[in-house]
Amino acid sequence: MPSMVGPPPDVPPKEPPYTAILPAKPFHSRLHSPSSRKTIYDRNLNRTQTTPTSLPSFAYLFNTLITYHHSKSGSVSEIETRLNRAGYPIGIKLLDLLLYRQARAAVRPTRIIDLLQFVHTTLWRALFGRAADALEQGVSNKNEYMIFDNEPVVNTYLSVPKEMSQLNCAAFVAGILEGVCDAAGFGMEGVTAHWASASGGTGGAEGEGNKEEEMWPGKTIFLLRFGEVAMRREEAFKAGGG
């Protein structure tokens, strides 16, 4: 705009091109703490590692979480996405916590198979007190792996209505997995939870379903899709003779 000599007077001056960095101060918390020093810094991080609590209480809380997200969602897939997002930050934090608790040195897994072992065994034990039931590589896509849980604890008291039979609330656990894998630097395309049987978790095995399905109506597959970066790194490891 050549005719303009200067900025019109009512336009506020441009922000300076940089923001001044304040001189660094040592971290100073403004939080009050009780005189007994009952804060998170004064407790052993491993204190509740194996403490049990009531499964029904978890179920009520989990139900509340589902109801909350259900009320904000328009579709089954949106509920699942929201549950995944709810679990995700837990996974990010759990990776560090679980590595810290490892007997051996806290080295994060860098190979896909190490990570899968870690999830299948260490993570599952920490959350549910047992390892997952199986681990398989996807047939069609090289970047896909599957972890099987015959009876996800989180679905213990869930009855999903027929019109929503595809909904698998273990999407929350899938979100935790995704957080763990991302935090370990595997840049996941996504982790999702699916019913193993076509009839969904309702256990409505009508007719001659296969035996496996009848025994584990709630059997769930966690599908882990690794991102391109992770796959390329894996190739490089292999090429390097790793």
Binding site: F62, N63, T67, H70, L158, S159, P161, M164, T202, G204
Partner: protein, 163 residues
């Protein structure tokens, strides 16, 4: 042994579940259906025509319940009453859910049966279902598949319904 009908009322005096069983052709119908010709006593059949049956039943148990407390003390509950045509069984939870079952007059004490329907079917499948509302206004959320299926299997296993 046969069961004619089954009702659940909530603490707001609302009927949140009802089911009628007709033994003759072994079909069952939930809430809002009309009675079919089975061995449902004529008196009841007539009553259902003249009055809203659930209202009548609620009125009856409400009065009996009060009478039982007045005569037997605050903790007393009536268990059942019998006419020539049918027997009404009653169980109330501390949360004032009221379970009512109408059966053949020869049927024995059904209190444990009703307690079990509450503790193992209602609590597991209705109360714990996350997508059912906490209060069942208009019966919403009670008649879900798991509860209906569980109830039927339970009744069959107790010999109350034909296999």
């Amino acid at each position: 042994m046969s069961v004619y009908s089954f009702y659940i009322f909530d603490r707001h005096t609302e009927c949140i579940y009802s089911k009628r069983f007709t033994a003759a052709n072994n079909t069952q119908s939930s809430r809002g259906s009309t009675l079919q010709n089975g061995d449902v006593p004529a008196s009841l059949r007539k009553a259902s025509k003249d009055l809203d049956e659930t209202k009548l039943i609620f009125g009856t148990i409400f009065s009996l319940r009060r009478m039982a407390k007045q005569l037997g003390g605050a903790d007393d509950q009536f268990l059942s009453y019998r006419t020539g045509e049918y027997k009404l069984h009653y169980f109330e939870t501390p949360t004032q859910l009221k379970f009512v079952m109408l059966t053949d007059p020869r049927v024995g004490n059904m209190r444990t049966v009703l307690h079990q329907i509450w503790a193992t079917l209602f609590v597991e499948y209705v109360v714990k279902s996350p997508l059912a509302p906490a209060e069942h206004t208009g019966g919403k959320g009670v008649a879900n598949e798991l509860f209906e299926g569980g109830l039927e299997r339970f009744m069959v296993s107790m010999g109350l319904l034909p296999r």
